[in-house]
Symmetry: C2
Subunit: 443 residues, 2 copies
C-alpha cells in the first residue's frame, strides 16, 4: 500500500514550474477526496485552498489539513475568486450537478469522478463549459484508475470503433469470480463481497447493472460521437445467475461476466447494453478476476486493445482525478485555457438499436419434465421461430420432482425470434421453469 | 480487415470544424505511411498535401494519390510553407533525425513513429521543439497502436511509478509463444515467424532485444522524469532459450517472456533492462500470446494497470500516428500551439542502477556429470556466495554422455553474488555446461 502523505517524497515532476501554483477547491472529503488530498501533496504546482465537507466536526485521518481550509458550505469554495479548479467528489446526482453547473458558470474548471452526473447531464455541462471557455474533465468517472476516457478521445480517435466491451463494475465481477472459484451461490457471494467492502449495504446499483450502464453510456457517447444517455441502455443484472449456470457455462468453455457493450451498427445506430454474458474462457476479458475492471476496444485500424486495472478505491480513483488536475494545471500554466475535444458536447441524442433487433447466440437453462419427447418439443419451439440450435444438453435429472435440467445453446439469431421461441417453450406443458437466458459474447 | 479507403465512410468526427484543414506532409509511404494515408482520408480537418518517397516510379496500392503530391525530395516537404505538420515514417536513425531537426527548425510540428530517433535524440529534439514552440509527438514509437505514451504522461502522472514491465516486441513474443505451444526450438520458431512476416530477414534488432530496449528507454524516461538512453539499458535476447527451458519453466509454473523492465530504486536510480524472464503463468503478462504487446504498469496510487494490443503493423501503428495528428490538429484549430508536458525534454541523464547491484530470483539450467555428490557441489557453490536455493531438480539423465540436466531456482539474491556462484559452478569438474540463466519476474 501507499505510504502516508507525510512520508511521500514530493514528486519532482517535469510538470513543476516556478509559476504560482494552480489553486484547487475540493467538494467532498470522503474516500476519494482523501486520496486526492494525499496525492496532490506531491505536486507543488497545485495548492488545495478550500475543502467543502458535510460535517466539520468529523474526526479525519488527515491531521495535516489546516482547520481554516475546511468549510461546510460548498458555495464558499465555488465562489472563491482565487480558486482555479473545482474538484467535485461528493457523489449523488442532482446536488453535485447543481454544484458543477455553478462552478462552470463562475468560470471555474471542473474535474469530477461522478459518472451519474456525466451520463445524465454531460452534453449540457460540456456545452456550458465550452461557452465559458473552461474545461470539464472526468477520467475517473469510468473504470477508476484505468486510463480510458483520454485514450479513447485522443490516441484511438483515428479508428471507427466496432465494439467496446467492458467489465466496468468491480462488485459484480467480484461476486461472479467467487461464484466461479468457490462454487458459491449468488447470495453467499454477495454477502462475502459486502463483508469485504466490495459491495455496499444496498447493492442494487451495482448488481442490477445501473452503475455499469452509466459508464457504457459515457464510453459509447465518446466512441460514437453521439450522446447515448443512460436510460437508453438496455440493462440486466446478475442476481438471477445460479451456481448451476456458472458450472454449465464452464462445461461449454465459457466464463460468465457482466459485460457493458457498445457496438456500432448500420445507419449510425449503436447497440448499447449491460447484461451478463458467456465469454469464451480463453478471451482476455474472461480472465479479469475479482474486483478488477477491463475495457476491450475493437477499432477498425488498431484491432483489439484492452485496458485493465482497478476500477474503484481511494487511491486508484484519486490517481485518475489527479491525472486530470495535473493535465489541466499544465495547460493553465502554459497559458492555455479551454482544451477542445476533451468532452462530448454533442448536439443531439444518438440513435439506439432496440434490443429486439440485435442478434446474439444464447444460452438457455430450464427445468422440464423428465419424459420422452421433451427435447423434441424444445427443438420444435426453436425451429418454429428461426432459432437454430448449436447444442442441447440434458444435465442431471431430479427424481423427487421428476424433472431434468436442460441447457440449450443457439447459433446467432435475432433477439425478437428468441423471445418468441421462449414464449412457445414456456407455454409447453412439459416446461416447468425457464431459469436463465444469457447472451454469448462474440469477440 | 479494414476496407479500402474508397469504401470508408468519412468519419463525422466531433473533431471536424469549418476551419481550413491542417496541412500534413508525409515523409515515407511504406507500410505505416500507407496506413496513415488511408486513415486520414476520413478526417476533413486534415489534408495531406505532399509526400516524400524514395522511388517515384514504384507501383503503389494507393491509386488515388494525385501524382503531383509525390516528390523524391524530403526537403520539398519540410520547406513547404503551407505545411503545418510533418509526419516522419521513414525509419532508420541519422537521416530521419536530420529531417525531424530540420522540420522543427522550420517551425513545423512533427509526429513520428521512430523509436530509435526518440530513444537516441529525444531530449535534444524536445528542447528544440519547445524553443520553437512546436510539438513533437511519438505515441506510435512504443507498442504501435496501444495508447501508452499519452496515458503515462497524463492520466497516470499522479503516481510514483514502481515498475513498468512490458512485452514490447511482437517478433520475440511470437517466437516464444510458438516454442511454448508447439514445442518448437528457437530456430524453427524464428523461421516460421519469418515465413509469416512477423520477423525480418535480419532479425537481430528484435531477437537480441535492441528494439525493446529503445522502447523501454522511452517509457522509463517518461515514468522517471529523467533521460535514460537506450545504450544504458542492460540487454539480453532470446536466442539461447531452448525448448527444454520452456518446458522446465512450465513445470515450475512459469512462462518465458522477453520483458522490458523499468523499476524505480533508491536515490532516484532506475533499474532498466531487457531480458527473458520466467513470468508466473497466472500473471496477465504470461497470457499475452503471439505478436501481441502489453505494458504492465505499477503505480503507488493506481495499483496495477495493463495496456494490451497489437504492437506493430500497418493499421495499428497508423492508428497511433493518426491519433497524434488529430490531437495536434484539434489544438492548432483551437488556436493553441505548443502543448507543454507531452515530451521528455529533460536536462540531464538519469542514473541507472548497474545490473550487478540488482536483486532477482534466478533459474539456471545446466548439464553435469551424472554421479553422486553433484547436487551437493552445486548447492555448495551457491551457499559460498550467499545464493540461497528455492528448488533444485534433476530432470532426466543422458546415458550416452553420462550427464544429467539439472535446474536450480534461487530465492531473491544479488546479481553479483549469482555471477560469482556461476563462476564457481563453472569451475567444478562435474559441471559440463551452464546452458541458460534466466531471471524471474516479481509482480
Amino acid at each position: 500500500m501507499m505510504p502516508d502523505t507525510t512520508t511521500l517524497e514530493t514528486k519532482n515532476a517535469s510538470l513543476s514550474s516556478h509559476k504560482s501554483p494552480i489553486t484547487i477547491g475540493l467538494l467532498g472529503l470522503g474516500t476519494v477526496g482523501t486520496g486526492v488530498y494525499k496525492l496532490l501533496a506531491r505536486f507543488p504546482q497545485t495548492a488545495i485552498s478550500k475543502i467543502a465537507v458535510k460535517n466539520l466536526d468529523k474526526q479525519r485521518s488527515l491531521s495535516q489539513i489546516p482547520p481554516n481550509t475546511l468549510t461546510a458550505h460548498a458555495e464558499d469554495v465555488i465562489k472563491d475568486p482565487n480558486i482555479d479548479i473545482i474538484v467535485e467528489l461528493i457523489g449523488g446526482k442532482e446536488y453535485p450537478y447543481q454544484l458543477i453547473r455553478q462552478a462552470l458558470e463562475s468560470g471555474k474548471h471542473v474535474v469530477t469522478a461522478n459518472k451519474v452526473v456525466i451520463a445524465h447531464y454531460g452534453p449540457e455541462l460540456f456545452a456550458l463549459a465550452a461557452e465559458k471557455g473552461v474545461n470539464l474533465f472526468f477520467e475517473a468517472a469510468v473504470a477508476g484508475g484505468i486510463p480510458i476516457v483520454l485514450p479513447l478521445k485522443t490516441s484511438l480517435a483515428g479508428n471507427q470503433i466496432q465494439q467496446i466491451a467492458g467489465i466496468l463494475n468491480g462488485t459484480t465481477n467480484y461476486i461472479l469470480t467467487r461464484m466461479e472459484q468457490a462454487g458459491l451461490d449468488f447470495q453467499a457471494a454477495l454477502k462475502e463481497a459486502q463483508a469485504k467492502g466490495f459491495a455496499e449495504a444496498d447493492p442494487t446499483a451495482d448488481i442490477e447493472g445501473h452503475d455499469a450502464a452509466c459508464k457504457i453510456s459515457i464510453l459509447g457517447s465518446i466512441a460514437y460521437n453521439a450522446y447515448l444517455p443512460q436510460p437508453a441502455v438496455y440493462t440486466e443484472g446478475i442476481s438471477n445467475i445460479g451456481a448451476a449456470d456458472i458450472e454449465m457455462a464452464r462445461t461449454f468453455g465459457y466464463t460468465i461476466k457482466l459485460i457493458a457493450l457498445a457496438k456500432g451498427c448500420e445507419n449510425n445506430a449503436v447497440d448499447l447494453r449491460v447484461h451478463p454474458m458467456l465469454v469464451p474462457s480463453e478471451h482476455p476479458l474472461a480472465k479479469v478476476a475479482y474486483e478488477n475492471n477491463a475495457i476491450w476496444v475493437q477499432g477498425d485500424a488498431v484491432g483489439d486493445v484492452m485496458f485493465y486495472g482497478k476500477g474503484a478505491g481511494e487511491l486508484p480513483t484519486a490517481s485518475a482525478v489527479v491525472g486530470d488536475i495535473l493535465f489541466m494545471t499544465q495547460a493553465l500554466q502554459s497559458g492555455q485555457s479551454y482544451l477542445a475535444g476533451m468532452d462530448f458536447s454533442l448536439p443531439g441524442q444518438g440513435s439506439i438499436r432496440p434490443i429486439a433487433d440485435t442478434t446474439n447466440a444464447y444460452y438457455i437453462r430450464l427445468e422440464a419434465e423428465d419424459q420422452p419427447g421433451v427435447l423434441g418439443h424444445l427443438g420444435q419451439a426453436c425451429g418454429d421461430h428461426n432459432v437454430s440450435l448449436d447444442a442441447i444438453m440434458q444435465k442431471g435429472t431430479h427424481p423427487e420432482t421428476k424433472t431434468a435440467t436442460i441447457v440449450l445453446l443457439t447459433h446467432e439469431v435475432q433477439e425478437a425470434d428468441l423471445q418468441a421461441a421462449l414464449k412457445t417453450m414456456q407455454a409447453q406443458s412439459s416446461t416447468k421453469r425457464i431459469h436463465t437466458v444469457l447472451r454469448v459474447f462474440q469477440p
